[in-house]
Amino acid sequence: MAGSGTAHLRDGADPLLRVEHLVVEFPAGVGRKVHAVSDVSFDVVEGETLGLVGESGCGKSTTGRAVVQIPRPTSGSVVFDGRDLTKLHHEELRRIRPQIQMIFQDPISSLNPRRRVTDIVAEPLVVWGRGKSAEREVKVREAFEAVGLDYDSASGRRPHQFSGGQCQRISIARALMLDPKLLICDEPVSALDVSVQAQILNLLEDMKERYGLTMVFIAHDLAVVKNVSDRIAVMYLGKICEVASADDLYRSPRHPYTNALLQSIPVPDPEVPPAGENLALSGELPSPIDPPSGCRFRTRCPRAQARCAEEEPIIREIDPTHFVACHFPVMEEAGEGAGSAGGRLFGAQAGSSAADEGSAGAASDGPASEGAASAEAASAEGDSGVAVDPAAPPYSAA
């Protein structure tokens, strides 16, 4: 999964945001580094929504924050509206920031508990000295109305007097005050109930329409991401593994990891049995301090072969809107079977109970050696005809 490469960038289009070879590393003491984001590239054209999806720790939030330069990435370029943000000085960057706004995961803690919500929403206008006090109130009133809150009953109240869903509406209103071009939503609905989640997702779609926004939508739930996105990039351990249009990605997932993510979504239908322990993704994310060699997904991949440990797969085109970084992509057509829960394609992944690969958190295992061992095991299982369809030859780039 290592998905370096830029095959999925669109040359013809003039993207609003183009991120190339983005690398973000954090020091982890004694000369070690956390490889949070390793050589990620993507672009977003105007009016489009790009979904970034992956598990916790895959670097999706770090990627979102690196776009706004908090913190500045280790290397790579972030070209927004023709200007490379990584090259800008502090004041120049500050002047561009109103055009890029963010919405965060926890709606309640992203609002200052001691201020009135109307002041919180007006704050961006105050900071930038836009309008007189009366004009500001008109603008705030309009934003409240747009996100479905009543200005008069909300004014004077503080964040704790609102529910989580309402606080997220307030955050959205605040993000829209400066008429941004790009909105980065970092897990905006994962702290909310399903019923409220639907309200907020609908609201984001409305706001996108009304204010002509371009969005980067970050979440771990593929069903949520698919609902709002035009194009989806699947991330794993700091790399991109698959980029495709939202419907394509679901209809024919090519990367084994995408497949596993699709299987993990609970289906609200008792007739569809859960994927089961041996089908869902087993194990845990390896440590980003010492990521596996070659393809970073190989330690958990049911299709992994010896080659995956040696050579990093580069993103390549499968069809004009579908790109994958895998040596042995899933080529079976999900076809009609997709009606169930999104192509449950793997054969049983032999043996292994839930977590062989537990180099969790800051545990000081040697993940590399363990990883190699289990990759061998995995490929042995693969040879016994479990996961790899011999009829599907390794796909060679078109």
């Binding site: 598990e55 916790s56 720790g57 529910s163 869903g165 109930d193 399903v194 019923s195 409220v196 989640q197 639907a198 309200q199 997702l201 609908n202 779609e205 771990h220 739930d221 593929l222 069903a223 949520v224 698919k226 609902n227 709002v228 035009d230 419907d247 679901y250 596993a260 993510l261 699709l262 993990s264 979504i265 609970p266 289906v267 609200p268 239908d269 008792p270 569809v272 049995p273 859960p274 994927a275 322990e277 869902a280 993704l281 087993s282 845990e284 994310l285 997709a338 009606g339 829960a341 999104g342 109970s353 839930a354 977590a355 062989d356 690969e357 537990g358 969790a360 958190g361 800051a362 545990a363």
Partner: protein
């Protein structure tokens, strides 16, 4: 053997270890939990009844604020000491838990009924090694010695899918990821072989991939141990494939209860329908508009007189604002629902059609007055 464990062993003989099952394992009868607050009495759980047999799984579903967490805490007796009133009965193995003293309850909790809480990050003690957090209840309830407790604990860690359990035994919670911590919490809950496991939003704080692993683990353990389980969640998708029966809660009451397959095939309560429809489906094409439930759960201080879902219900008629519907028997055995105009019936269809054509009837003045009072 310490004095305490000796006493424990002796007292164990006073109770039959295993009694031939007669009735249901757990029977909750008209349970009410009310909190006294500055604003008035919050009716968090307002007359809930259900029963659960051995080895069965019940899902309790509802939005935040529907009272589902307070219900599970009321069953366990884990409520604040002040400003709470609890009425009704919680009969567990022929004993009424609401009548037990705190000391007696402590012998039931952990040993016979265990609970898993939502947040795996905060349910473990950060300064105590994982091993001791598991052996604590083993030594307390079963009175086993240190060596034996350690062996059992390592076995438990292995059974919940933790790699290298011997080493994890001596580690601290911060050294584990969220999913691993939730596995440890499950190991603690299962340590004494409880007959009933209450899982309160066990996967809400976790990623979808880890969620699937944890739910599978719970299902396996529940099957292998022939343990009854109550799975509390806001996501109908989570309980769909993994429960025998589902109770839908709204504003402190059970509004629909049915065997899982019946509930999904033949739901009667508009609230259940709305919950199902609000889930984003991966099968829908992108930018499909979700059918959100308008508004928010009602205030539990001044509940409206009629059906509590009426203000948000697309089927609501004038009668719904005045008369509160009782739980009615459905066609299928075990199906009960509280609705005057159920989904999929002639009355329901007529009501929905009427509302779509003429707009929803406004609440009668009387209902508003009483609400404001």
């Amino acid at each position: 053997m310490s004095y305490r464990s000796a006493r424990r062993r002796a007292s164990a003989h006073q109770y039959p270890v295993y009694r031939e099952p007669t009735g249901p394992l757990l029977e909750v009868i008209d349970l009410e939990t009310h909190f006294r607050t500055e604003r008035g009495i919050v009716r968090a759980v307002d007359g809930v009844s259900f029963s659960l047999d051995r080895g069965r799984t019940l899902g309790i579903v509802g939005e935040s604020g529907s009272g589902k967490t307070i219900l599970s805490r009321s069953i366990m007796g884990l409520l604040p000491r002040r400003n709470v009133t609890r009425h009704g009965q919680v009969i567990f193995q022929d004993r009424d838990l609401t009548a037990l003293s705190e000391a007696e309850l402590r012998e039931v909790r952990g040993a016979e009924i265990s609970m898993i809480f939502q947040d795996p990050m905060t349910s473990l003690n950060p300064v105590v090694r994982i091993g001791r957090q598991i052996t604590e209840s083993l030594r307390h309830h079963l009175g086993v010695d240190k060596e034996e407790a350690k062996d059992t604990a390592v076995g438990l860690l292995r059974s919940v899918g933790i790699p290298k359990p011997e080493r994890r035994f001596d580690e601290y919670p911060h050294q584990l990821s969220g999913g691993m911590r939730q596995r440890v919490i499950i190991a603690i809950a299962l340590a004494c072989g409880p007959k009933l496991l209450l899982a309160d939003e066990p996967t809400t704080a976790l990623d979808v991939t880890v969620q699937a692993q944890i739910l599978d683990l719970l299902a396996t353990q529940q099957r292998d141990r022939y343990m009854a389980m109550i799975l509390v969640t806001h996501d109908l998708g989570v309980v769909a494939g993994r429960t025998d029966e589902i109770a839908v809660m709204y504003a402190g009451k059970i509004v629909e209860k049915a065997p899982t397959t019946v509930l999904f095939k033949d739901m009667k309560m508009p609230y259940t329908e709305a919950l199902v429809q609000s889930i984003p489906r991966v099968t829908n094409s992108s930018h499909t508009r979700l059918r959100a439930i308008p508004g928010r759960p009602p205030d539990l201080v001044n509940p409206i007189p009629g059906c509590r879902f009426a203000p948000r219900c697309p089927y609501a008629q004038e009668r719904c604002w005045v008369d509160e519907p009782p739980l009615m028997e459905g066609v299928n055995p075990g199906h009960t629902y509280a609705c005057w105009f159920p989904v999929g019936t002639t009355e329901g269809r007529a009501a929905l059609e009427r509302n779509q054509q003429q707009g929803k009837p406004a609440p009668p003045a009387a209902a508003l007055e009483r609400k404001g009072a």
